[in-house]
């Protein structure tokens, strides 16, 4: 069971470690992490024989920025009631989450290749009872956002400075639960909540426009009283800057609409809806993808072993 914040710590405390000084090579580090996330996700989906590559590729840079710089969350802080939380509301991008977790020490890189296998903790969708660091169980679209809202509310009540981040898919925004949560977060002025939309313009079967139009998207969230910013979801400095600005927004939750490319980094997947999932990658496809993502021959051999 989750640990409540002890009462004597509930007063407003500066619980966060000071902002990590951004080392000059931070952007390079994060870019390298993002490349790893993509490679590892492809490898794990290849081994699993099913999974959702398109939406894992599109969010890799965002995840790398969050875990690499923004979140006050480290492997030894998994039980810290004052840690920042990240909830992957678009739970089908689990391979990317496991990969970024592996990159930053929350889980083992090799083990995380057991995605979707019997008795693996790396289920097709994240499960908090398998791995506490994933914060909650997701997979049913819309729910992770509400859970993140509940966390933000719970932290506020307990006067913690911790922040809550959540990543949603664009198709996910069609769920009414998302608009319930949007209205509720604004009403309760949850400025410790930051939602990021992986705006890859595609969902399960087709483009958003063909399935259920979302535009004007920023106007929708503005009318729901969120602080909205639109960014390039593959531009690391831009993502980092937007996350920083979001964390100083007062009185309103913040939304980052991150424009992304579904399948980003794997040329044959980019912008092709059918690579959403559930797809089986052949060895040749996996190899081509890994090469395009910058893996060396040896790395490819190791990934696919």
């Amino acid at each position: 069971m989750a640990q409540a914040i002890p009462f004597d710590r509930r007063a407003p405390v500066q619980c966060k470690q000071p902002l990590k000084a951004l080392p000059p090579n931070l952007v390079n580090d994060i870019a390298a992490s993002a490349a790893f996330v993509r490679q590892h996700a492809i490898a794990s989906i290849y081994h699993a024989g099913s999974g959702h590559p398109g939406g894992a590729m599109s969010c890799a840079d965002i995840l790398a920025c969050l875990y690499g710089a923004e979140l006050n969350f480290w492997p030894d802080a998994v039980d810290d009631p004052h840690r920042d939380r990240f909830v992957l509301s678009k739970g089908h991008a689990a391979p990317a989450l496991y990969a970024v977790g592996a990159q930053y020490g929350f889980c083992n890189k090799r083990e995380a290749l057991s995605l979707r296998k019997l008795n693996s903790k790396f289920q097709g969708h994240p499960h908090v009872l398998d791995m506490p660091w994933v914060e909650t169980s997701t997979g049913s679209l819309g729910q992770g956002f509400s859970v993140a809202l509940g966390m933000a509310m719970g932290l506020k009540i307990q006067k913690s400075q911790a922040r809550v981040y959540t990543l949603l898919g664009d198709g996910e925004l069609q769920e009414g639960e998302v608009w319930e949560a949007a209205m509720c977060a604004a009403h309760h002025q949850l400025d410790n909540l930051c939602a990021i939309i992986d705006y890859n313009k595609m969902q399960s079967d087709d483009r958003n426009d063909a399935i259920m139009r979302l535009e004007p998207l920023a106007a929708k969230f503005r009318a729901f009283d969120w602080a909205v910013a639109e960014i390039d979801g593959h531009d690391i400095p831009e993502i980092l800057g937007a996350l920083r600005r979001a964390s100083s927004t007062h009185g309103r939750p913040s939304l980052l609409i991150a424009n992304t490319v579904k399948g980003k980094g794997v040329p044959y997947m980019e912008n092709i809806p059918t690579w959403h999932g559930s797809v089986k990658l052949t060895q040749a496809q996996a190899e081509e993808a890994l090469a395009a993502l910058g893996a060396t021959r040896e790395q490819i051999t190791e990934y696919l072993a």
Binding site: A2, A4, H127, T136, G142, G154, I157, V164, E177, E180
Partner: protein
């Protein structure tokens, strides 16, 4: 002329009021409890808590899905969220309760008022006859339906002491007293309200008082009925059911719920797996309810004491025939 009417619920001896008062009374002891409301605090009894503990009363508006899943997030920060709404609206958040509470292993509670025909005049649309079935099917979800205000207060405490997700039914209409002040309640334990040897009547919620009445009707005809208050529908007290099967060999179940999937099914499953016995099912027979006063509806849909007594006689007759 009076400017602000009193809530009809207030002051009456309903299960929802008993719950609301108990919760507010326990709030200082259970400091991590927060209450979630979807704009019907006046109807669920948690207006007491809102008044006594406004800082820990969280308003979600008319948005049950978000409320249910957000409870998972609140629980993840160590709070004990109590989700409150009407039973029928819990049915729009079954998947949220499943994934974000039960599957995620959260210590969160759902307390649903307005279950069954007991809802009365609001009519069939508002009378949840499916909630116990739906929530019972969620792995690891505990399901409780106390019988009277005394038991409701005890169950409220027990629910807060218990770790894990719980679905509890309260009730809308004035409730009959069944128990004395010395009543005990434990999650997972049924208890014998009245001993008897000819048949066991297993009941929950408002049907317990009716079962007790039925036992008196039966006694007048020389039938000795045992009454079991089965306030925990899940996990059901199998040991007690087996003992009753040995002692009485015939059963009636009584619940203000569809006869498919609720208490009756839980008893039937348990006995079929251990000591098969004739069971007669008193409950709503797979039809929707209607408007009317709760007692009128109970009569019309076959939930009153005479119906239970008739069912008991049928069960006994079947037992004898089987021998």
């Amino acid at each position: 002329m009076s400017a602000a009417p009193a809530l009809i619920a207030q002051g009456n001896d309903s299960l929802r009021e008993a719950f609301g008062k108990a919760l507010s009374g326990l709030a200082d002891e259970f400091k991590n409890v927060v209450v979630l409301d979807a704009d019907i605090a006046g109807g669920t009894g948690v207006h007491h808590f809102r008044k006594s503990h406004p800082d820990r009363f969280l308003q979600f508006g008319i948005a049950e899905q978000n409320m249910m899943a957000a409870a998972g997030g609140l629980a993840a920060t160590g709070l004990i969220p109590i989700v409150t709404t009407f039973a029928v609206f819990c049915l729009r958040a079954v998947e949220q309760a499943r994934l974000s509470l039960a599957y995620a292993g959260r210590n969160a509670k759902i307390v649903a008022s307005h279950p069954g025909l007991d809802v009365g005049p609001d009519g069939g649309s508002a009378q949840a006859l499916e909630d116990m079935a739906a929530f019972r099917a969620i792995p690891g979800m505990t399901v409780i339906s106390p019988a009277d205000p005394i038991e409701m207060a005890l169950a409220t405490r027990a629910m807060l002491e218990f770790k894990g997700p719980v679905y509890m039914r309260t009730g809308r209409s004035p409730s009959k007293r069944v128990f004395g002040d010395d009543h005990k309640f434990e999650i997972g334990k049924g208890h014998i309200v009245r001993d008897g040897k000819d048949v066991t009547i297993v009941a929950c919620g408002v049907e317990v008082a009716r079962a007790v009445e039925a036992a008196e009707l039966l006694a007048a005809e020389g039938v000795d009925a045992r009454i079991v208050n089965m306030a925990t529908i899940k996990p059901i007290d199998k040991q007690l059911l087996i003992r009753c099967a040995k002692h009485t060999g015939a059963f009636v179940t009584a619940e203000d719920h569809n006869i498919l999937g609720g208490l009756g099914s839980a008893v039937a499953e348990s006995l079929a797996a251990t000591m098969p016995c004739p069971i007669e099912f008193v409950g709503v027979k797979d039809v929707f309810g209607a408007s009317g006063e709760p007692e009128e509806l109970a009569e019309q849909f076959g939930l009153t004491a005479p119906h239970i007594a008739e069912a008991a006689k049928r069960a006994i007759a079947r037992k004898k025939k089987a021998k």
